[in-house]
Amino acid sequence: MSTQANSSTSHYPAQAVKEEIVRRTLSVVVDNEPGVLARVIGLFSGRGYNIDSLTVSETEHEKHLSRITIATTGTPMVIQQIKHQLERLVPIHRVIDLTETGRAIERELALVKVRGKGENRVEALRLADAFRARVIDASTESFVFELTGKPDKIDQFIVLMTPLGLVEVSRTGICAIARGPEEM
């Protein structure tokens, strides 16, 4: 018994060697039935997976199908597990890794409330114009902007609005679809 035990010694195996973390956007087609979202979320929390963004809505009414778009991060092994674990859930039809196909378009919508007067107000409007954000509500001392785009564009807009009197932000999370004529 001369072998040195390593520092993380336990009969439970040591944590796997650190691998690079990758980001993935998954599109999950599910039956639109009560509890299906809870199953998906419970799977992520129960097994310690990350959810960076999650959107869900019914997409095909006649077939009772919903589409859940999940942005997640993990090692390639974990991402593979996430896909297999999702596929194991009974009401899940398909899991598609949109990042892996490399042809996905991702968009997000944000509503951004900014309060301010004078020069700040003018600057906010000017920037909103540059970002193609629409004013959907206004008062003498505030605006609500509607903005769509990639998440980093929205991040950037929020950064710019912060010194100009950012009050609050509501974001939808990512929805995504593959390019080209094919159905996924």
């Binding site: 018994m1 072998t3 035990a5 390593n6 520092s7 993380s8 010694t9 336990s10 009969h11 439970y12 195996p13 040591a14 796997a16 060697v17 599910v30 039956d31 009560p34 509890g35 809870a38 199953r39 419970g42 129960g46 092994m77 593979q80 597990q81 297999h84 674990q85 596929e87 194991r88 859930l89 009974v90 009401p91 899940i92 039809h93």
Partner: protein, 586 residues
């Protein structure tokens, strides 16, 4: 034929249509309509347990020993929450089971009504699937679907939660049709090119080993027969997990014994040193692999599993094959026969020579005594005296379970019922009730510990009520033995709360239940006492007083790999084998 009937009647009808003969349950307010329907028929037999956990374990024992789906009926609230341990146990060990729970009426759901709980919410992570039935017209379809999901693919528990108003409501009963689910489609046939690749690897192997698990048992007796054929054809050595014992006969010379934390020296060394590992229906559990980065470092790994999420979960494999064991084994046997590649006979002979050297260590050897019963000796005698009978063994969890796995040798599948994944103390006694129910004329023995058995002792009453002559063979060392062993080896002998104080007199306890109590304290009396136990046709509590400080070896100590296992005769030097850091393990 479509018929109108109440929800409660549909439950009985669906169970009849699914071929259910026995259901384990406990009544309560929210399932009274179903119990009323049960009362008005004779076909389906209900077994009244004493606690809902007992019902679930009994159904597990029933399912594992027959291959059928186990069935449970409990009420809402505490009925459902008490069933959670059994559900989780069945999920971890892939046991097919349908649990029907009552629920408060639909209009009260969410109101914190009496005996209400969020059953589908609570059981979501511990079932394969679950349902809340809101419309009586969905009920029959859901029940048939529940049986299909529980029994197909990788088996598991399914909960059907039925509100009381749905049980009363009338609707149209739909008989079971050919099952095809729109999104649940388990893959049973393995990918042929992958199987060819696997056979290629096996044909060229110099140091191969089969590592099999509970998947073979779940796949059916056919899988077990095909496995025997393949092992015979190849001449390779074979080991198995705790869950897979019996799939391959222990009497066969190619059998290495169980592997893993308390596996044999030869099985673990073969796993460590092999060049091709053929894993069939096992899942690289942490009790098997030990230290992951040192697990079988030089082997190509073939993994056959019906569940894609089992592949590459813990250990990266080279040839993954997704499919049912029996289907894949059938292809493997056929392709092995058709292959023209000649195995390296010289290398295989060398490999067997090495294995026989490992075997010569006799890793299960123990020092017997003439004054005190050694637990290993007790199991050995139990095996010798029951092996020629039609015997089923269940266990609780702990040292006795490992000794049973090491010293009771299984020749056939479905003879061994134990809680593997979840490690549920209290599993064995109710499981024995379920097994005996399915096999009324067989000898059913629960190899138990005095601590575990007290967790579900009340099911003795069930056994007495239904004349189930189960034998509870308690290895009584007055300790939670495995806890005590770890405290001795890892926590400086500080036996924190692991002593079984204030034990009942098990003989009197048996008599209080109107069963039979037998106590044995001397090795010389053991055979006679065991024979007496076998001959009694009533439930028996056998209080076998054994050595209090015996440890279970071999053991892979904390943080170590397969080739660093320690043996019984090395126990004295064990302190050096475990580092300070090892003590922080869990």
């Amino acid at each position: 034929m479509q018929r109108e009937m109440t929800g409660a009647e549909m439950v009985i009808q669906a169970l009849n249509d699914q071929g259910v003969e026995h259901i384990f349950g406990y009544p309560g307010g929210a399932v009274l309509p179903i119990y009323d329907s049960l009362f008005q028929q004779n076909k389906l037999k209900h077994i009244l347990v004493r606690h809902e956990q007992g019902a679930t374990h009994a159904a597990e024992g029933y399912a594992r020993s027959t291959g059928k789906v186990g069935c449970v009926l409990v009420t809402s609230g505490p009925g459902a929450t008490n069933a959670v341990t059994g559900l989780t146990d069945a999920l971890m060990d892939s046991i097919p089971m349908v649990v029907i729970t009552g629920q408060v009426p639909t209009h009260l759901i969410g109101n914190d009504a009496f005996q209400e709980c969020d059953t589908v919410g609570i059981t979501r992570p511990c079932t394969k699937h679950n349902y809340l039935v809101r419309d009586v017209n969905d009920l029959s379809r859901i029940l048939h679907e529940a049986f299909y999901i529980a029994g197909s693919g990788r088996p598991g528990p399914v909960v059907v939660d039925i509100p009381k108003d749905v049980q009363f409501a009338k609707g149209i009963y739909q008989p079971a049709r050919g099952m095809a689910h729109k999104s649940y489609q388990p893959k049973v046939k393995g990918d042929l090119p992958k199987i060819k690749e696997a056979i290629e690897l096996m044909r060229n192997a110099k140091k191969p080993v089969f590592y099999t698990g509970g998947g073979i048992i779940n796949s059916g007796n056919e899988a077990s027969l095909l496995l025997r054929e393949l092992v015979k054809l190849t001449g390779f050595p074979i080991t198995s997990t705790l869950m897979g014992l019996g799939a391959f006969p222990a009497a066969n010379p190619q059998w290495l014994g169980m592997l893993g934390m308390h596996g044999t020296w030869e099985a673990n060394w073969a796993m460590h040193d092999c060049d091709v590992m053929i894993c069939i229906g096992a899942r690289f559990d942490d009790r098997i692999t030990g230290r992951l980065d040192a697990f079988s470092p030089n082997s190509k790994k073939i993994h056959v599993d019906i569940d894609p999420s089992s592949i590459n979960k813990n250990v990266r494999v080279d040839v993954p094959i997704i499919g049912d064991c029996a289907h894949v084994l059938e292809d493997m046997v056929r392709l092995w026969r058709a292959s023209s590649v000649q195995p390296d006979k010289k290398a295989l002979a060398d490999w067997w020579a090495q294995i026989n050297k490992w075997r010569a260590r006799k890793s299960l050897a123990y020092k017997n005594s003439s004054s005190v019963i050694k637990p290993q000796y007790a199991i050995e005698r139990l095996y010798e005296l029951t092996k020629d009978k039609d015997t089923y063994i269940t266990t609780e969890v702990g040292q006795h379970q490992m000794w049973a796995a090491q010293f009771y040798h299984f020749q056939e599948p479905r003879r061994w019922m134990t809680s593997g994944g979840l490690g549920t103390m209290g599993y064995g006694l109710p499981a024995a009730v379920g097994v005996q129910m399915a096999h009324p004329n067989s000898l059913v023995i629960d190899i138990a510990g005095e601590a575990s058995v007290q967790m579900t002792m009340q099911e003795m009453s069930t056994a007495v009520q239904y004349d189930l002559p189960i034998k509870i063979f308690i290895l009584n060392n007055e300790y939670m033995g495995m806890v005590r062993q770890w405290q001795e080896l890892l926590h400086g002998g500080r036996y924190s709360h692991s002593y079984s104080e204030a034990l009942p007199d098990f003989v009197k306890l048996a008599e209080a239940y109107k069963g039979v109590g037998i106590r044995c304290e001397k090795p010389g009396d053991l055979d006679g006492a065991i024979k007496e136990m076998i001959n009694v046709k009533r439930p028996v509590l056998f209080d076998c007083i054994v050595d209090k400080m015996e440890n279970c070896f071999p053991m892979i100590p904390s943080g170590r790999a397969h080739n660093e296992m320690i043996l019984g005769d090395a126990a004295e030097s064990l302190d050096e084998a475990i580092t300070e850091e090892g003590k922080v393990m869990v």
